[in-house]
Amino acid sequence: MFRKYTPKKNVQKKVAYTDRFYVTPSIEKGIIKDEVILQAIKSLQDLGVEIIEQFCMREQAVVYVNPAQIVMALEILKNKHSYEQLVEMSAIDYLEKRSEFELFYELLSFKTNKRLRIKLCLSQNEHAQSATQIYHSASWAEKECYDMYGIIFDGHENLRRILMPDDWVGHPLLKSYPLQGDEFARWYEVDKLYGKEAREIIGDEIRDAAMIERYDTTRFAKIGKEVPRGAKYSEEEKKIEYTPDRIKFLYDDFSEENQKIIKGRK
């Protein structure tokens, strides 16, 4: 018998039910009407940047450029059209459908008060170009992008992990990375703190904080039926009392006659 095939490229949560006749609507892609932005796009084209697509979605201008020319495009936009701030930069994972990433650069011009989103498509093993020479903020944005997606930026001086530990394996925001962490993540802390030989003694990390194993008497006891560590699980139910009789003398009497109700702060 063959093992059942499960898709590996996207292991994120899937929708349980979709109506057979449901047609997914799309937001309409309009034409960019803003003169200032059109001028910037035109000057990009004039200076030899290949523009693949341009549209306006929910009043926001989006421009797709050739990935090889991104640094040039950003330089032109910064120096000639006062897009002085790279507000945000990150990637979107389309590996499942198109085997490529989309990178977006959200730019802001203080002078004209316009925002422009430059996007590019990057195939799976291709390197991106670093924009650190143009914008300081690109340095950390690219580090994060590398950490989360594994995209390598050529020209970045110190491209290493930023949010995950330095010796982490895998890139967590990929669609192929499970939400609960992979096999490496499961043993990361045990391996790091105690070494691989302690795996059997300690056991893997429980990443679901709310999970209670029913018959586990070594780490988590069944709620209400606790037994000492290692002892056998007992069927007898133990009532949990938060102030047992034997320590009641430690507490004040909270009966209603003794309560004083204060209306608001002074």
């Binding site: 994120q12 949560k13 929708v15 349980a16 039910y17 997914t24 609507p25 799309s26 937001i27 979605m57 929910r58 926001q60 989006v62 002085e84 701030q85 790279l86 507000v87 945000e88 990150s90 979107i92 994972d93 977006f104 959200e106 203080f110 008060n113 925002r115 989103r117 914008y135 300081h136 903020s137 340095s139 950390w140 994060e144 989360m148 110190n158 290493r160 992990r161 930023i162 949010l163 995950m164 530990p165 330095d166 010796d167 967590p172 925001l173 669609k175 990375y177 939400l179 790091k192 070494g195 608001g264 702060r265």
Partner: protein
């Protein structure tokens, strides 16, 4: 002499313990009371001067963006509370606004007025928290006691509105969950009448205080170009001689109807930023009074009427069959926004908080990118700390107003 990583000393890449020169490398944090969270700052010192700073983050990383891809939009809303936990309503608001932009829906005017009051209140709470902790870092302990007292009243207001003091979740996609009561409004106006005097009190204690000025003036000077290039926003940008406030530049709520001023400082130092915070708190009081005025003139609609994406009001659900059906499918499956992408930026207390959402027409977002101001403000420390004294490092971290829930996400 580069170290080889082994089990006991795992990874100190780029940090060579080379004793031939006069510099010393120290680790500031990750467990340091003045690092405002878990910030590991590797500082290279020449005597007392910092010659290289390397902020290292990630100690509070919970994968919120990953969680966003595995949750429906309404499920994710309470998670946004955990970003900037000092002012959680502004995170809720920013996310709700982004989803509303994606769905292209209009929020009723009363809900807008309530949102305006709530986000300004959370801004005030955040600023009060900032002045309390910042002054404590610098050494003025009294302010902390005063500012926390006022913040406590604001938390009381939040508690009586939504039941929570820290993680509010007080804004819904498409509106707000509850209306304000007359009592609440009275309490709010009572509090607002007291706040300006309190701000005068803080300023009286600090603004002309010799120690305070010596610690803050000409410390942490952030030139305008560097601020722009490091993608800084909010008071970090306004403190660097830049008149830029998204509430004025791109009014998003009722801000276009409201009369308020945006303070900015030309000195580019920590003291200028402190003055901006103080003035902004006074402006918040002004905004909230106007918000209450607008609120009183509105009709009691709290949630957008858009059954396809947003559950109708309770009354509708209980009386109309079709509303109940829509509500059922929205709760069990989640809303399915159309295919597309939006980036929506708001002026949160810390700076520009933006949500970039890519939808593929499924109940789960394809990508949610949280553009948090504190992330870049932490990166900025790389350039800002160089040339400063070790004793001023704490002051500078304090004046950047970073919150690690937002930095690490």
């Amino acid at each position: 002499m580069n170290q080889l990583p082994n089990k006991l000393r795992p990874f100190y890449d780029n940090v060579a313990f080379d004793r031939s020169d006069n510099t010393m490398i120290i680790n500031f944090g990750p467990n340091h009371p003045s690092s405002h969270g878990q910030l590991n700052l590797v500082l290279e010192l020449q005597g007392e001067k910092v010659i290289k700073a390397d902020p290292r983050i990630g100690y509070l990383h919970r994968g919120i963006e990953k969680m966003a891809e595995n949750m429906t939009y309404n499920e994710f809303l309470p998670t946004t509370d955990r970003l900037d936990y000092i002012a959680s309503t502004s995170n809720n608001y920013a996310f709700a606004l982004a989803v509303e932009k994606l769905l292209n829906i209009e929020v009723p005017r009363r809900a807008q007025a309530i949102r305006l009051i709530l986000i300004e209140l959370s801004r005030l709470a955040s600023h009060l928290f900032w002045i309390a902790t910042h002054a404590l870092d610098v050494g003025a302990m009294t302010i902390m006691l005063y500012a926390f007292r006022e913040r406590e009243y604001i938390l009381d207001l939040f508690e009586s509105y939504c039941g929570a003091r820290l993680t509010h979740n007080s804004i819904k996609i498409g509106g707000v969950p509850l209306d304000l009561t007359d009592e609440w409004i009275k309490e709010l106006t009572d509090l607002m009448s007291k706040i300006p005097a309190q701000i005068d009190l803080y300023e009286g204690l600090l603004s002309k205080n010799r120690i305070w000025r010596m610690r803050l003036e000409d410390v942490g000077v952030l030139p305008t170009n560097l601020a722009k290039s490091w993608s800084s926003s909010g008071i970090m940008l306004r403190g660097s001689d830049m008149q830029w406030d998204l509430r004025k530049e791109r009014p998003y709520e009722l801000y276009d109807e409201i009369d308020f001023d945006v303070p900015y400082a030309t000195t580019c130092d920590s003291y200028g930023r402190y003055m901006c915070y103080m003035e902004e708190m006074r402006q918040i009081v002004k905004i909230i009074y106007q918000g209450v005025e607008i609120y009183e003139k509105t009709t009691p609609d709290l949630i957008a009427d858009f059954g396809e994406y947003i559950s109708a009001s309770k009354e509708q659900i209980m009386t109309q069959n079709y509303s109940l059906m829509q509500h059922f499918s929205l709760i069990t499956q989640g809303m399915r926004p159309p295919k597309g992408e939006v980036y929506v930026a708001t002026e949160s207390p810390k700076g520009e908080l933006g949500f970039y959402i890519v939808s593929q027409g499924e109940p789960y977002a394809h990508k949610v990118k949280v553009r948090s101001p504190s992330f870049y403000h932490t990166g900025l420390l790389t350039d800002l700390l160089v040339g400063e004294n070790l004793a001023d490092v704490v002051t500078i971290i304090g004046s950047t107003n970073i919150v690690f829930g937002e930095v690490d996400r």
